[in-house]
């Protein structure tokens, strides 16, 4: 990990309330990997106070830029959405554990919900480069939340909307159920999105006998393992730190 000042290369609206932010990645910092994250100090003053964590959505080694996809949720992401090309960002990263690559010969089933799209899209790109078969599912509430641009559709991603305004009608979890029989132990499930979706994926993977890796969200104070603030419940009792042992966990390690 490294702390550095990045320069924003672009901040593009993707869909209602969603943005893609591209920024320079310091050459001396380790390279971004899918599932790992970084923290940003969003304000110079004390509102909001804590750094905000975001997952990488892409890394372009030639350009030396990293990207994230974020949703405007509160004050911090509101400030980020108002940033422009040329503005600087105080970054610490990369942090946490990446998604592990599937064992040889396995294929990957990727499931993203809402702001989970960033790390899952990055993972899809990386797996495809490694020639690993990927199917991808993206769920959101309604069509206006589907990122513009045709990267999702072009990659053959199955799109699910809760209200049926585009693609499969229902949640990503509903969709998984509809394809349940076609998935077996030769598949590794990767998921990032709201807690209920992650739980559905975990249970689905359990029933189908396949491994499942999830990326979890928790409020973070330090982001580097020092404060025990980001604890999540572990399957064996006790807690694990989302920022250090996670944010990616084998879903069997967690208490659901």
């Amino acid at each position: 990990m490294k702390q550095f000042s990045a320069t924003i290369r672009g901040n593009y609206p993707l869909s209602t309330g969603f943005f893609e932010l591209e920024f320079t990645w310091d050459k001396a910092a380790p390279l971004p990997e899918p599932g790992r994250f970084f923290t940003v100090r969003v304000s110079d003053n004390t509102i909001p106070l804590l750094r905000r964590p975001f997952a990488f959505s892409a890394f372009d080694g030639n350009e030396g830029t990293a990207s994230m996809i974020f949703q405007k949720r509160g004050h911090g992401t509101g400030l980020l959405s108002a940033k422009h090309k040329g503005d600087t960002l105080d970054i610490i990263g990369p942090l946490g554990q990446p998604f592990p690559m599937p064992d040889k010969g396995k294929k990957a089933l990727l499931v993203a919900g809402g702001i989970g799209l960033g790390p899952i899209a990055f993972l899809a790109q990386t797996l495809r480069k490694e020639k690993i078969p990927v199917s991808m599912v993206f769920g959101c509430r309604t069509a206006s939340l589907i990122p513009s641009g045709d990267s999702l559709a072009a990659s053959g991603t199955v799109i699910c909307t809760d209200d049926g305004s585009r693609g499969f009608k229902g949640t990503a979890g509903d969709y998984l159920k509809s394809i349940e029989r076609s998935v077996g132990s030769g598949t590794v499930v990767y998921a990032c999105g709201p807690q209920p979706m992650l739980k559905t994926c975990h249970e689905f993977a359990g029933r189908r006998g396949c491994a499942c890796f999830v990326s979890v969200e928790q409020i973070m104070a330090c982001g580097v393992g020092a404060c025990m603030g980001c604890a999540v419940k572990s399957a064996g009792g006790g807690y694990k730190r989302a920022c250090t042992e996670g944010p990616v966990f084998n879903s069997r390690e967690l208490q659901w």
Partner: protein, 305 residues
């Protein structure tokens, strides 16, 4: 002429007045890649208890205006693993390593200190009698001067190392607590720990933290910390370590002028890990401009109201 940054506490010397506060810096290693730990005056470890503790229910952190509320509890690896896993790496650092000690009973505090005495690399102890996040434990001690004095005496009998008692701000008169620690033989007092606070999730209609209340820290509490440091400095004749909401050198200098001999940065490190080092640089710069040669001289330049 350059400034003498050293601070004597008990029978030892801190290389400089800027430390990192207990619970906000883990066991040091976590921040190793981000800052030069050798520049720190002291690392105060996460609280060490006799047995490992899982800590409180989640979530444990919520933001407040210019502050954070935490309910970590005393989540820590326990004294045995502290000695075997954490201390060896810490001991390689040139800065002072101060173990923050907590317990539910006098006996537990004493048992932890006895175990830690075996570790030659430890610089000293900060006795946490003031954690607002532990129901049966720290808090009871923290508000009762008689218990503070007795506990301090008992720990004093176990060690020659610098012994710092950390005071809670959640009392009517913090000077009574500090004086009790001094009477018990403490070499210094540190203040403040966190203020008791609560944030309620109005949609869920319950406190955000499952424990109900948590400990408030960060810039929001700085005026409270400075006022208490000011009062305690005038009540005791041992050194005072100022803590609470330090984000800049100016904040730290307020504590030093108020009478503190050293400071700790807590929440500020979360916001920007370079703050402790920048604070030290800023203190040095200020003293250079103001032609101040030592922390003692800084104290003498304060105009008392």
């Amino acid at each position: 002429m350059s400034m003498d940054l050293r601070i004597k506490i008990g029978n030892k010397i801190l290389p400089n007045p800027v430390g990192v506060a207990s619970g906000t810096f883990g066991y040091g290693g976590e921040y190793e890649k981000l800052i030069d730990l050798a520049k720190l005056g002291a690392i105060y470890t996460k609280a060490v208890t006799l047995e490992p503790r899982e800590g409180n229910e989640i979530p444990r952190i919520v933001e407040t205006p210019s502050g954070i509320l935490n309910s970590i509890g005393l989540a820590n690896v326990g004294v045995t693993r502290f000695l075997s896993e954490k201390l060896p790496a810490l001991a390689k650092l040139p800065c002072a390593v101060v173990a923050n000690v907590a317990g539910a009973t006098e006996a537990e505090y004493m048992a932890v200190v006895e175990r830690l005495e075996s570790a030659a690399q430890l610089w000293g102890y900060e006795i946490n009698v003031s954690c607002p996040n532990v129901k049966h434990g720290g808090m009871a001690f923290g508000t009762d001067p008689q218990q503070i004095e007795r506990l301090t005496k008992k720990i004093r009998a176990l060690t020659k190392r610098p012994l710092i008692v950390k005071c809670t701000p959640n009392v009517t008169d913090i000077t009574v607590i500090a004086k009790a620690a001094e009477a018990g033989g403490a070499d210094a007092v540190s203040c403040i720990n966190t203020l008791v606070g609560m944030v309620i999730d109005t949609a869920a209609k319950r406190p955000v933290l499952p424990a109900g209340t948590g400990g408030l820290s960060g810039p929001a509490v700085r005026p409270v910390g400075v006022a208490m440091t000011y009062r305690v400095s005038r009540a005791v004749s041992i050194p005072v370590i100022g803590i609470g909401g330090i984000m800049t050198a100016d904040d730290a200098i307020q504590y030093l002028l108020a009478g503190a001999s050293a400071v700790q940065v807590g929440t500020g490190t979360f916001v920007d890990p370079s703050i402790p080092v920048k604070v030290l640089e800023g203190i040095v710069e200020y003293c250079k401009i103001e032609k101040i040669a030592s922390i003692k001289e800084l104290h003498s330049r304060f105009s008392q109201p």
